[in-house]
C-alpha cells in the first residue's frame, strides 16, 4: 500500500511511534540492564509523534500539495515486527531494535525528501525525527558493543 497523502503519512508516523514505543516499554520490563534507555526511547516516541503532528496541523492548507507530495512511499518497506522471543537475550533485542530503528529512520528520511519544497515545515519535522532515529541507532550500536 502506498502512503500517498500527507494525512496517510502522518497517521503512519503516529502508528510507528506508538508501536515502537510499546516495544521499548515491553523491553524495559524484561531487560533491567537496558531499562532506562528503553524507557527513554518510549518517552521520546511520544514527543516525535507530537512534533510531526504539530507541524502538519500547523501548516496544513488548501494551497499546499498535501494530496500530491508523496510518490513511491510504500508501507511494506517500513513495516517491522515487535514480537520477541521470551528467551531472547539483550544482544538479540538490541539487534532487533536496530532493525526497527533503521526502518523508521528510512521512512522519515524518505517522507521528508518527498515533501521537500511542497509542504512547509512538515519535511523539516520529518527529517528532524529521522535524525533522532539515526542517533538512536548509534546509541543502540554502542549498547550492543558493550554486551559483546
Amino acid at each position: 500500500m502506498e502512503l500517498n497523502t500527507a494525512a496517510a503519512v502522518i497517521r503512519f508516523a503516529e502508528e510507528v511511534e506508538e508501536k515502537s514505543a510499546q516495544f521499548y516499554a515491553d523491553c524495559a520490563k524484561k531487560y533491567k540492564e537496558g531499562e532506562e534507555q528503553f524507557l527513554s526511547f518510549a518517552r521520546e516516541n511520544k514527543k516525535n509523534a507530537s512534533l510531526v503532528k504539530r507541524a502538519y496541523y500547523g501548516v496544513i492548507s488548501d494551497a499546499l500539495e498535501a494530496c500530491f507530495s508523496f510518490k513511491g512511499l510504500t508501507v511494506e518497506e517500513y513495516l517491522f515486527d515487535t514480537e520477541f522471543d521470551e528467551k531472547a537475550g539483550l544482544p538479540e533485542i538490541l539487534k532487533m531494535s536496530l532493525e526497527i530503528e533503521d526502518k523508521i529512520q528510512k521512512f522519515y528520511q524518505r517522507a521528508g525528501e518527498l515533501s521537500e519544497s511542497l509542504l512547509a515545515d512538515v519535511p523539516r519535522a520529518l527529517k528532524k525525527v529521522a535524525g533522532k532515529r539515526n542517533e538512536r541507532k548509534h546509541t543502540l550500536e554502542a549498547l550492543l558493543n558493550r554486551t559483546r
Binding site: 500517498n4 494551497a63 500530491f68
Partner: protein, 488 residues
C-alpha cells in the same frame, strides 16, 4: 429513523424554523441523507437582523481588547475541535480530509489575525494641522453585516469576514449554503460556547429568498458574498440600490503558465493540487495550463507527465486517507461538468483523459463522482477555454511567448488568479507586472492569500472596492471618522 432538522441561531438561541420548506443535505460520496435544512422565512431574517441590531450598541462599546478575548477563546475551541470540524466538512462537501484540515487551518488563521484588533483598528492623528489645532482619524463600526456563503468551502469562507466584522464591533448574520450548512452549525456552536453575547452572531439557513431578504433589508449596512459571477453582479447592484457596502468575490478562469525551464518534478504535484484539489471546485483552481514556447519535446513531456499524474489520482470518499480527490459536491454539479466536457469534444478539443470513465476507490455511490479530465489542443475561444467549469477538468493550451499568454489572460473576462511556473526571475517579474489578475502565483498552484493579506480579485471575479481579509477587511467593516479639535 427521523432525520435531524437544522436550526437557526438567533439572539444566542438555537431555534426551529417556522418554514415548511426543507432541503436535503447529502453526503456526496455515499449519496446518503445527512440532515434537512430549513428554507427560512423573511420574518426569520427580520428577527435575526433585529437581534443583530439590538446587540450592536453594547457590542460596539465593548473594548476592542475584550472583543479580542472572545476571539482568543473561539480560537482555542476551534483548535480543540480541529479534527471533528474537518470531518464534518468532508462528510457534507466530499473533499479529502487533508483538504478539510487545510480549510479548518485557514479558518482559524482568520480568527487569529482578527485577535490583533486593538492594533489593527487604530486610527491616526496629526498635531498642529494649524496652530493649536489637532486632527484625528478614528475607525468605528457601522452596525449589522451579512454574509451569503458558497458551498465550496463551507467552513472557511464565512470566516473570511465574521471574525473581522465582530472584532471591529459590528454584528453579523451568516446564511450558509443550503448544500452544506453543517460546518457553519458546528462553528456557531463554538461561537456560542465562546460566550459571544446574544445577537452578535446569527445564523439563518435558506436559499435565494433568505439572501434577497438580507440584501433588501434596510438595517443591514453591508454584505459579503462568495459565489458565481452572475449572482455577484446582482448582489453588487442590489447593494448599490440599498446603499450597502459590498464585497462580492466571484467566479474565475485561472491560467497556469508553464515555461520550458521549469522544474517539472516539483511543478506537477503543484498543478495536480491546483486543477484537481477540492475537485476543481474553488475560485483559485487552475483551469487552463498554457505551455509557452515552441519546444515540442518539452510540450510532449509536459503533457505525458500531466496526464500520467492525473490518471493516477485516487478518487473516492474523502475520509479515506489514501484518496486524493473527492466527489463533486452534488449531482447537479456533476451534470454541469459533464455538459462542459461534451461541449469541449463538440468544439474540437482533444480528450487526453476522460473523467467520465469512472475509476473509484471503494464501494462509493457514483452519483457525484467524476475522475480528472484533461483536454489538449484547447484555444481560449472554446467554451471550456473561457468559461468557469468548477470541476476537475484541465485544458492544455500553447502560446509562443509570454506576451501571447498575457493577451490570452486579458481576453478572458475573469481576473481572479494566474500563476507562472519557471526558473527565470526575469520572466516571473514580467508576468507579475503585466498580468491583470488579483492574485499572482510564482511557482504556486493555488494563490490563496493569507489572512493578513487581502483576497484580491479583478474584473468579473470581484465586485466592490475593498477585499476580504487583512487590512482591507478592517477598513470594510469600519467607517473613518475625522475629528478636528481646538481648545479655547
Amino acid at each position: 429513523m427521523s432525520v435531524e432538522r437544522l436550526k437557526n441561531f438567533i439572539e444566542g438561541e438555537w431555534v426551529d424554523s417556522e418554514s415548511k420548506e426543507y432541503g436535503e443535505v447529502r453526503n456526496p460520496a455515499w449519496d446518503r441523507l445527512l440532515c434537512q435544512v430549513p428554507m427560512s422565512t423573511r420574518e426569520e431574517v427580520d428577527r435575526a437582523v433585529q437581534a443583530a441590531k439590538n446587540a450592536f450598541p453594547e457590542w460596539r462599546n465593548t473594548p476592542p481588547v475584550t472583543r479580542a478575548r472572545y476571539l482568543h477563546g473561539l480560537r482555542g475551541l476551534l483548535e480543540e475541535n480541529f479534527d471533528e470540524l474537518s470531518r464534518v466538512q468532508t462528510t457534507e462537501h466530499g473533499k479529502t480530509i487533508d483538504e478539510s484540515r487545510g480549510e479548518t487551518r485557514r479558518g482559524i488563521e482568520m480568527v487569529e489575525v482578527a485577535t490583533g484588533i486593538p492594533s489593527l483598528m487604530q486610527g491616526y492623528n496629526l498635531e498642529d494641522i494649524a496652530t493649536d489645532i489637532d486632527e484625528y482619524c478614528i475607525y468605528q463600526p457601522l452596525g449589522v453585516f451579512g454574509h451569503i456563503a458558497p458551498f465550496n468551502f463551507p467552513f472557511m469562507v464565512p470566516l473570511w469576514y465574521l471574525p473581522f466584522a465582530i472584532a471591529t464591533g459590528n454584528t453579523f448574520i451568516v446564511k450558509p449554503s443550503p448544500r452544506d450548512p453543517m460546518s457553519q452549525v458546528e462553528l456557531f456552536k463554538l461561537l456560542d460556547e465562546a460566550g459571544i453575547p446574544p445577537g452578535v452572531v446569527n445564523l439563518v439557513h435558506g436559499a435565494a429568498d433568505v439572501a434577497n431578504s438580507l440584501l433588501e433589508h434596510p438595517d443591514i449596512k453591508g454584505m459579503t458574498f462568495v459565489g458565481s459571477t452572475p449572482v455577484g453582479k446582482i448582489i453588487y447592484r442590489k447593494c448599490g440600490e440599498t446603499g450597502k457596502r459590498v464585497i462580492a468575490q466571484c467566479g474565475a478562469k485561472n491560467f497556469l503558465v508553464i515555461l520550458p525551464d521549469v522544474d517539472l518534478d516539483s511543478t506537477i504535484p503543484s498543478l495536480m493540487t491546483s486543477f484537481f484539489g477540492n475537485t476543481g471546485q474553488r475560485c483559485l483552481s487552475g483551469a487552463n495550463a498554457v505551455v509557452v514556447g515552441d519546444d515540442g519535446r518539452f510540450y510532449k513531456r509536459f503533457v505525458d507527465e500531466f496526464v500520467g499524474a492525473a490518471s493516477k489520482i485516487r478518487v473516492g470518499d474523502g475520509l479515506d486517507e489514501s484518496v486524493q480527490m473527492g466527489p463533486l459536491q452534488n449531482a447537479d454539479s456533476k451534470k454541469r461538468v459533464i455538459a462542459f466536457i461534451e461541449k469541449g469534444i463538440e468544439e474540437g478539443a482533444e480528450v487526453l483523459l476522460d473523467g467520465r470513465k469512472l475509476n473509484l476507490v471503494g464501494d462509493v455511490s457514483e452519483t457525484c463522482f467524476l475522475n480528472p479530465t484533461v483536454f489538449g489542443n484547447v484555444t481560449p475561444s472554446m467554451t471550456i477555454g473561457k468559461e468557469e467549469i468548477f470541476g476537475p477538468v484541465a485544458s492544455i493550451m500553447r502560446a509562443k511567448d509570454l506576451d501571447e499568454v498575457t493577451e490570452m489572460i486579458h481576453g478572458n473576462p475573469y481576473g481572479n488568479a494566474a500563476s507562472i511556473f519557471t526558473s527565470s526571475g526575469k520572466m516571473a517579474r514580467k508576468f507579475q507586472h503585466d498580468v491583470m489578475c488579483g492574485n499572482i502565483g510564482i511557482n504556486i498552484g493555488i494563490v490563496a492569500p493569507m489572512a493578513f493579506f487581502p483576497f484580491s480579485g479583478m474584473k468579473d471575479s470581484f465586485f466592490g472596492t475593498l477585499h476580504g481579509q487583512g487590512r482591507d477587511a478592517i477598513r470594510f467593516f469600519t467607517e473613518s471618522k475625522i475629528i478636528i479639535q481646538r481648545w479655547f
